[in-house]
Symmetry: C2
Subunit: 471 residues, 2 copies
Amino acid sequence: MQATLTSKTALTAEHIKLFINLLGENYVLFDQESLHDYGHDQTEHLLFLPEVVLKPRTTEEISEIMKICNANGIPVTPRGGGTGLSGGALPHLGGVVLSTERLNTILSIDEKNLQVTTEPGVITEVLQETVKEKGLFYPPDPSSKGSCFIGGNIAENSGGPKAVKYGVVKDYVLNLEVVLPTGDVIWTGANVLKNSTGYNLTQLVVGSEGTLGIVTKIVLKLIPLPKYDLLMLVPFTSLEKAGEAVSAIFRAGFTPSALELVEYDALKITAAMVDSTAVQVTDDTAAHLIIEVDGNHMDALMSEMESISELLTQFDCGEVYFADDAQQKAELWKLRRRAAEAVKLQGYTIEEDTVVPRAELPKLIRGVKELGRQYDFHAVCYGHAGDGNLHIRIKKEGLQNSQDDPQMVQCLRALFELVKNLGGTISGEHGIGLVQKGYMDIVFSNTQLQIMRDIKKVFDPNNILNAGKIF
Amino acid sequence: MQATLTSKTALTAEHIKLFINLLGENYVLFDQESLHDYGHDQTEHLLFLPEVVLKPRTTEEISEIMKICNANGIPVTPRGGGTGLSGGALPHLGGVVLSTERLNTILSIDEKNLQVTTEPGVITEVLQETVKEKGLFYPPDPSSKGSCFIGGNIAENSGGPKAVKYGVVKDYVLNLEVVLPTGDVIWTGANVLKNSTGYNLTQLVVGSEGTLGIVTKIVLKLIPLPKYDLLMLVPFTSLEKAGEAVSAIFRAGFTPSALELVEYDALKITAAMVDSTAVQVTDDTAAHLIIEVDGNHMDALMSEMESISELLTQFDCGEVYFADDAQQKAELWKLRRRAAEAVKLQGYTIEEDTVVPRAELPKLIRGVKELGRQYDFHAVCYGHAGDGNLHIRIKKEGLQNSQDDPQMVQCLRALFELVKNLGGTISGEHGIGLVQKGYMDIVFSNTQLQIMRDIKKVFDPNNILNAGKIF
């Protein structure tokens, strides 16, 4: 119990005893290895040790924990799968990490109303596969879907490739059970598809990055699973032309179920890592678009894919590669989904999650490259081009964290200024968390930020829950 | 200026002078006729006279008005098209009615990014038709679309028939310019399709019924206009069977672009009012479903309609009527859209806007009929069955307003208790406003209501903007 005795917060050995009484000693961890395990997520190379890790099983236990922490001013950082890219789950103030990993049950699938009720610690892909067995579809699918938790997706308002047709997490959340920082438990809405009954507390909690409450039950809307999909990979000799093609597809009246962009370098690095030969990457390729359409009528999909292919010839695209079967599709998606991991291993440790109106993508890409020359860094871009959501992975010699280097901070300010001038904003799906909060003044006025701070106070008067995140 | 001298609020002749200096005397009205015109909306038979009606033209003017009212504690009720059904625009405290009718310009249509930026005083149908000319589609289409304002739609989070496939207003709002009660002007977000940057102020303002700020600019997402649609009308001998059929359609994997239910009485009354012979209404019909599918591939749509028709035969439906051309479709939609007006003229003056998970519709309908017998009223039901959103129009001899009669209040409490027990809530698309606020305790705890009140305080510390609405 030594760790807690040197506490930098109000946490004491007495509180630890209370937690052990509440949860049992197996679920109250404060050995160094555990503190280390729960001290980082996927954000750059950042580590902040908590003082204790709590693993409650129920809403009631979480409520009790919050009452203790609220009464004693102990910081609490909620944590899902630990796959976050903005540091939302980093316990930078020490105190308690509250892991939702044991709230991992899918509570019910309502096939009559196309709804699922789940606990937050269920892995997103597990949820998707489970409802798929019933012919149902929960579309939001972040790249980390094999390890991230649905609760974390709610916290960050995650997106993923399907968002371009099907929307993001917020578009599927009907109702949430939330433990407030005071320990009170509320539902945010009702299990209905339309709701004009009071302020939309559901949408306020979605994307609030675990700062307003701890989500303990989630009711999601499901839709019928489309019967068919088609997938193709299209190479472009120019990154900007690829960006222009994205906008043209929508202007021509098509709504693909995925429209992803992957820059040449990112694809090459990822193909090498996953040892894939599915795609021949050649040096005259600058970027690829991955385009998927889905629906219930194969003829219609074939016709759409043909029309899109034809349209793309106006943008200097190379030979289109159609994924012929499930295996080829899986291979292509693997290349896209593992890009972040692959380029991170190659030293691209800093990731930004910019989003602009989609027609502004070419300008954003041009701007990123220009900043790279100016500030002497390498960048690879990939992401959800159909939504204008571009992930920018940055590699700079000797630099692991964006916050350690004043020049990198200056560079990121320039990047976000550009994004703002293009009508965009800082984060499309990763959240602000810890690493982007220093840039919020670029996109928000004091008045806006003060409203957010005051809303935080309404939920968390003692500022104990994930304090110091977002703003 | 006599009217203002007998003011029951802090409004004085001096303030009126300030308003005239600001707006010009043409846009500051306080004659009895104007006060009467702006003293009611479409909610039951309710009239509350304001003390002055202001018609600003710009954000800046609205900001100045709010500064004056905020400094002096003068109640302000914002007003759009005056088509509201819950009393959100009723100036029940007197003071200022602030009409947005002169902010009626569509500012820009961004065809590259599929967005429109508009002022709030544009009529919804005008907006829809204008973007349609560019091949673009703004789906939310309340029945009042020919006279309601897009700003009012934002305030109430309106829906309409297309919501079942395309979502409600909140699903299309990307960004809002809002004048706060203090006179400060903010934008709530950014013009992007995905956004995880701070709390979702946009979604907090949508559906807040003009209590948090006055929306002065609106950025909406648009989608490509589907090329084709097909429409059919299906009679059922049992209202409950019609309700069961609704749920079955979705469970079979179909997503119609509209799925409306109209009870026999409502259709008959409406057909008589609009002098339509399009539909043969016979006494063995209990209700109709109006079913629309849309998309870009006619073959696929034909096949879907056939499959749906076949499915419906399991629910004792009568002969299906297909609308063959644009005129027949328009005729059918007219019957649906004018139902509220028609039955209101027949004395059905009280309208509720219940919403339940869609498979619970038969139970809700059964419950309404039972309540009718118990409390001695007639009810006709119609609405957006695909969303579980049922409008219930009530006619009781000698009663024009739901609030005037303790027995009706008791009856509505029973109705909303039923709705809650079915997993539903009070309002799906009309808002709470003035007439439903007495029932909020049925669906929300004190904790939830207190959070909403505290959020209201964050935006409106002096409680001057549409005070006394919702809660």
